[in-house]
């Protein structure tokens, strides 16, 4: 329950500064532009689609590319959003308030993580609303859209978990941002090397974020992919909690 109080506070304070507002505004603008490009694409290929058997549907052409691009944009933005979550509090000495209150390290980390996740969920739901608007005029595969929304939510959830861990670790917010960005990028491009050599390396393939994200995007919910994301988030949160405990002993 304590974690929820911290999460609520964290979410509210994000909106007290211009950060969250400008982020939401700018992102929605970019996503809208991407959405329109996809619509344009669909309009262009629509006459040909009529002649193809088992042609890709409206959902197939618009939704996965939109959510895929959103994933990459959020990969760039998530580290900025999470960089100050613990690190800044430590620098402004407000962290003592949480440390001297009857809270466990788990409450603090989970609370902070949930606060950031709420904002990310607002962003993902903003993206999902755009394809949903197509239902007004056309037919849209709601199941596939839901799968894409779930995939993106899990993906940004994983980004945020890495971000929180880096913010716990780093002495300066910018350093935290650089750390989490590099790490996420590495995980993103991990399967490129296997593609070049045409060698399937099972472990590297499994670790790559993109694989699991794209698997979910196809509309197939595989427990291995869900497990990957949940395990990913849980392990980075656990690392952050351990890190916080350790800092108390050491410092």
């Amino acid at each position: 329950m304590k974690a929820l109080i911290i999460a609520q506070h964290e979410f509210k304070s994000l909106f007290l500064s211009p950060l969250a507002w400008s982020l939401l505004g700018v992102l929605q603008f970019i996503f809208a532009y991407l959405f329109l490009t996809q619509i344009e694409n669909f309009m262009r290929v629509q006459p040909q689609l009529a002649f193809i058997e088992h042609a890709p549907s409206l959902t197939d052409i618009i939704v996965p590319p939109l959510f895929g691009n959103a994933g990459i944009i959020l990969l760039l933005l998530c580290p900025i959003l999470t960089m100050s979550v613990i690190c800044q509090e430590r620098r402004t000495k407000t962290f003592a308030l949480l440390l001297s209150a009857p809270l466990s390290s788990t409450d603090i980390i989970v609370g902070k993580y949930l606060g950031i996740s709420f904002l990310l969920m607002v962003i993902t739901s903003g993206i999902s609303l755009m394809p949903l608007s197509l239902a007004l005029g056309g037919s849209i595969d709601l199941g596939k859209l839901a799968c894409n929304a779930l995939a993106l939510t899990l993906l940004v959830g994983a980004f945020a978990a890495v971000g929180v861990f880096c913010s716990t670790l780093a002495p300066h917010p910018v350093l935290a941002a650089i750390l989490s960005f590099s790490f996420l990028l590495l995980l993103w491009i991990m399967d490129w090397s296997t593609a070049i050599k045409e060698q399937a390396n099972e472990i590297i393939n499994y670790l790559s974020l993109v694989r699991h994200f794209q698997n979910l995007q196809t509309g197939l919910i595989h427990s291995a992919d869900l497990g990957y994301f949940l395990l990913f988030i849980a392990s980075f949160l656990w690392l952050s909690i351990r890190c916080l405990d350790y800092q108390r002993l050491q410092k």
Binding site: I5, L16, A96, L99, A101, R248, L249, K251
Partner: protein, 308 residues
């Protein structure tokens, strides 16, 4: 009754540097403990150890009977802490911030409003409760910090240099508040202002280079500070020979014809006899008072002794 704090042979190292060396003390309800020391003596480290922000390298600390390391949540339940920099979220208003603090300290939602209200009242913050913390002056921010530490009515209140940045009137108010809190709670006050200790503390500890070099209550402190000297001022010139009949007096230093310093044997206060003698001789006394070592003198003496 369990003690509020029991610190037992606590050490804290930062690498090879020993910041706190073999610290043992206890505190009960109704005590106001002044923690004195020069900058870098280990005051803040000790406060952080007590609040569980740092773990001791060895030894243990019990708060209300709970070990800070093994039962941190139970121990911190009865703890209010004001660090040397008040931990304030500058984007929040005073009442929003205090409400958040109340929630963090397990105050049920229904009682939050009352708790915030009483904390605002106790620290006289009512007038600024809807202002953003970033817009407040340093003194008000300090008061918000104190309000944050007492909002959940903890048994033990730890204040790290609470009077920094306050004007003399605010300092006076804080001292009154501390005294008031000290009647029902245990209070630890760290400071390097000696007058603060004299005014509001029942017990004094002096820490130097991480070691406790003095642990006294206020009565014992008064005894240490006594110098066995009296200051005597009279309206007209007085012949010191008139007092030599008094056997308690060891010798008399003449500062001016109307101002004498009378040295006397320890444990024998000659004040009543002197008064009698002087009145019998028809001398107008302007002042007859014991000369005390100032807190500053004693502090500097102790530090110098221990630095050798």
């Amino acid at each position: 009754m369990t003690k509020l704090i029991e610190a037992d042979h606590v050490f804290r190292y930062f690498g090879a540097y020993c910041a706190v060396h073999d610290l043992s003390f206890s505190l009960a309800k109704g005590q106001v403990l002044g923690f004195l020391g020069v900058n870098g003596a280990g005051k803040t480290t000790t406060m952080q150890l007590l609040c569980g922000l740092l773990a001791p390298s060895s030894g243990h600390i019990l708060i209300n009977g709970y070990n800070v390391l093994t039962h941190p949540i139970l121990a911190k339940q009865s703890l209010g802490y004001l660090p040397d920099t008040p931990p304030l979220y500058r984007d929040l208003t005073v009442s929003e911030f205090l409400r958040y603090c109340a929630q963090l300290h397990n105050i049920p939602t229904k009682q939050c409003h009352a708790a915030v209200h009483s904390a605002l009242g106790r620290c006289s913050l009512g007038a600024v409760q809807h202002k953003l913390i970033s817009q407040l002056s340093k003194g008000f921010q300090q008061r918000v910090g104190i309000a944050q530490a007492i909002i959940h009515n903890p048994d033990l209140i730890i204040l790290d240099e609470p009077s920094v940045g306050l004007d003399p009137i605010q300092i006076q108010e804080i001292h009154t508040l501390i005294k008031e809190l000290g009647q029902t709670h245990g209070v630890i006050l760290s400071t390097h202002r000696l007058s603060e200790v004299q005014e509001s503390c029942t017990d004094v500890q002096i820490i130097h280079d991480g070691k406790l070099i003095l642990q006294k209550n206020s009565a014992e402190l008064a005894a240490i500070m006594s110098t066995e000297k009296l200051c005597l001022r009279t309206r007209l010139a007085l012949d010191p020979a008139a007092l030599t009949a008094n056997t308690d007096i060891t010798h008399i230093t003449v500062i001016s014809t109307q101002h004498l310093e009378i040295h006397y044997h320890a444990n024998a206060n000659p004040t009543p006899k002197i008064t009698e003698q002087l009145i019998a001789a028809g001398v107008d006394i302007l002042e007859l008072s014991p000369i005390k070592k100032s807190m500053e003198e004693m502090f500097i003496e102790l530090i110098q002794e221990n630095s050798k």
